[in-house]
């Protein structure tokens, strides 16, 4: 990305020389490039973040090894030192313009906080399950994100919340309650993400909420989850398309809200389809399938042009719908040869639809560029 900004800089100089833009425009452009450069992920900052994650993992594994060679009070003290040095050192580096390394040190400090929780659990044989330790760790990390206004720490706390959700959600053998607390976590983290200007965290929260609703659905097998999800997603989609500027100023997702809304919409409809598929009278299933297909078409027509990602989610949804409709409606009528025939027809249909839509989406923009 740094190379992009230097390239643009050279371009601006050339345009200025050729008289295409005046000096004040050139200045404004340079300032804009400079201001936006910070937000982009450079190769170096990705490496720094990976190093931080590896180091954090090393800290956690070191603690988990329950190594008796070092007295445990010294291990606690070492972890406390990492916490302090990580947060404060990171802040110092951040103010001296080493933003990427600073953020990476904060991640290390947050990992050391989690490691300390695990070590204390070991020291005192606390058997209160791992999941409650995760809640404490996530809360501490979210607090750090707020105090330091850090984007990576916000993403990290969403990741910890997801890990918690995952562990609790799939804990079929344990006697754990269903993780309803995730509602609260999602709302709090979403709110924090505005303060820390973490768009990535917002994306992750929305996807996690859809995952959470899926867990809720498998737990209770009910349309009371699926129907509101479909309705709310459809409304959000409409709002994000028809009042794009306004909605994006509020949620600040970089125009990706329609994508999430489409994922939510399709997830909800698949839940409904699963619920209705077993019934002897398949009319409910047929209606749900028709709604899903209509929704996919509407999404491509309304939002497909602006977003390639949206189109690909729509295609994936379309492929999934074809498969599920085939399995439920036709499977019993066909033998193996028929299955291959049907699969060939469906794949061909899918390819045809994708090719046609992609062509239509491309054509006008090419004309626009040449005109």
């Amino acid at each position: 990305m740094a190379s992009y900004s230097s390239r643009v800089g050279a371009d601006i100089a050339r345009w200025l020389q050729a008289g295409l833009i005046d000096a004040s425009t050139a200045d404004a452009l340079r300032r804009d490039v400079e201001a936006n450069k910070r937000n982009s992920l450079s190769f170096g900052s990705i490496l720094a973040m990976m190093a931080a994650l590896l180091f954090g993992a090393a800290v956690l594994i070191f603690v988990a090894a329950n190594w008796e060679a070092i007295p445990r009070l010294s291990r606690v003290a070492a972890l406390f030192a990492i916490i302090f040095a990580g947060y404060v050192g990171g802040a110092v580096l951040k103010t001296r313009d080493h933003s990427a390394i600073g953020e990476a040190l904060w991640i290390v400090a947050a990992a050391a906080f989690g490691g300390s929780i695990a070590l204390i659990g070991q020291m005192y044989h606390l058997s209160g399950d791992e999941t409650s330790a995760l809640v404490t760790w996530g809360a501490g990390t979210a607090l750090a994100a707020v105090a330091l206004r850090s984007n990576p720490l916000t993403v990290a706390s969403v990741g910890i919340a997801d890990a918690w959700l995952f562990l609790r959600g799939f804990d079929y053998f344990g006697r754990a309650e269903f993780p309803h607390l995730f509602d609260v976590m999602a709302i709090v983290l979403f709110a924090i993400s505005f303060w820390t200007r973490s768009r990535a965290a917002r994306h992750l929260v929305i996807l996690s909420i859809i995952f959470y609703l899926m867990l809720l659905f498998t737990e209770y097998e009910t349309l009371q989850v699926a129907v509101p999800l479909v309705v709310v997603s459809a409304l959000l989609f409409a709002a994000a398309i028809f009042a794009a500027g306004f909605v994006d100023r509020i949620v600040q997702l970089g125009g990706r809200l329609p994508l999430h809304a489409l994922i939510g919409f399709l997830t909800g409809l698949v839940m409904i389809q699963f619920e209705l598929a077993g019934e002897s009278n398949n009319s409910g299933f047929a209606i749900a399938s028709a709604v899903a297909l209509a929704g996919i078409v509407a999404a491509i027509v309304l939002g497909g042009r602006e977003s390639r990602g949206l189109r690909w989610v729509a295609y994936a949804g379309f492929a999934f719908e074809l498969a599920i409709i085939y399995v439920v409606m036709l499977q019993s009528m066909l033998d193996t040869a028929g299955f291959f025939l049907a699969a060939a027809v469906l794949l061909g249909l899918l390819a045809l639809v994708i090719l046609r839509v992609e062509k239509r989406m491309r054509a006008p923009s090419v004309e626009g560029a040449t005109a």
Binding site: F84, V88, T95, H125
Partner: protein, 193 residues
């Protein structure tokens, strides 16, 4: 953008808050170890599949199964348990091990006598409450961490002779493992810190 000095100060405050929180947990646990009432609990032989996971052993106590008829305040006609705390009153038996005498959902109606101790556990939702059954509370002491590699030997010994866990119980009923006992011999004693 936060100014430089403010960022460093908030980082320092943040670090101290997190370290303070962790120290508070340590101090609270150490306090239970130092001042808590000591009781000796018999550890049950455990299904070997569950016994060893990594470097801790899973422990199951006699009091990990409480007969429903010991619970004094089961509401009449209630079929299944709520998600609730449970207070179990312990008394020392002739063999030195402490056992459950009575239990209450929620809180005990009266404090324990001097030769008794109340331990607080947690019951999850949905246990059958009919009179002939038992329920299984958790006390937060169901795990014992061992130095690497020593788990197997202890696991094997545990199945041939009685083992016990010496537990310290705070005034509010929170339990804390103090030592692992092989009969009368102390195998591991926990230092305060």
């Amino acid at each position: 953008m936060m100014t430089g000095k403010r960022l460093i100060i908030s980082a320092a405050v943040l670090a101290l808050v997190q370290i303070g929180f962790l120290s508070w947990i340590i101090a609270r646990r150490a306090e239970i170890l130092r001042d808590g009432k000591q009781v000796l609990l018999r550890v049950e032989p455990i299904d070997p599949r569950d016994l060893l996971r990594g470097d801790y052993i899973m422990l199951s106590y006699d009091i990990s199964r409480i007969p429903v008829k010991l619970i004094a305040n089961v509401p009449a006609g209630k079929l299944a348990s709520d998600d609730t705390p449970i207070v179990v009153r312990l008394k020392q038996g002739a063999d030195g091990y402490w056992g459950a005498t009575t239990a209450w959902f929620g809180q005990a109606p009266a404090p324990a006598a001097s030769n008794e101790a109340d331990i607080v556990g947690h019951v999850s939702e949905g246990w059958d409450l009919s009179a002939a059954t038992t329920i299984a509370p958790d006390y937060g002491i169901e795990r014992f961490y061992l130095p690497e590699g020593e788990g197997i030997a202890i696991q094997n010994d545990m199945r041939v002779r009685p083992f016990g866990i010496r537990v310290a119980i705070a005034a509010d009923g929170t339990a804390q493992i103090k030592a692992l006992m092989d009969g009368d011999k102390t195998l591991f004693e926990e230092p305060l810190y």
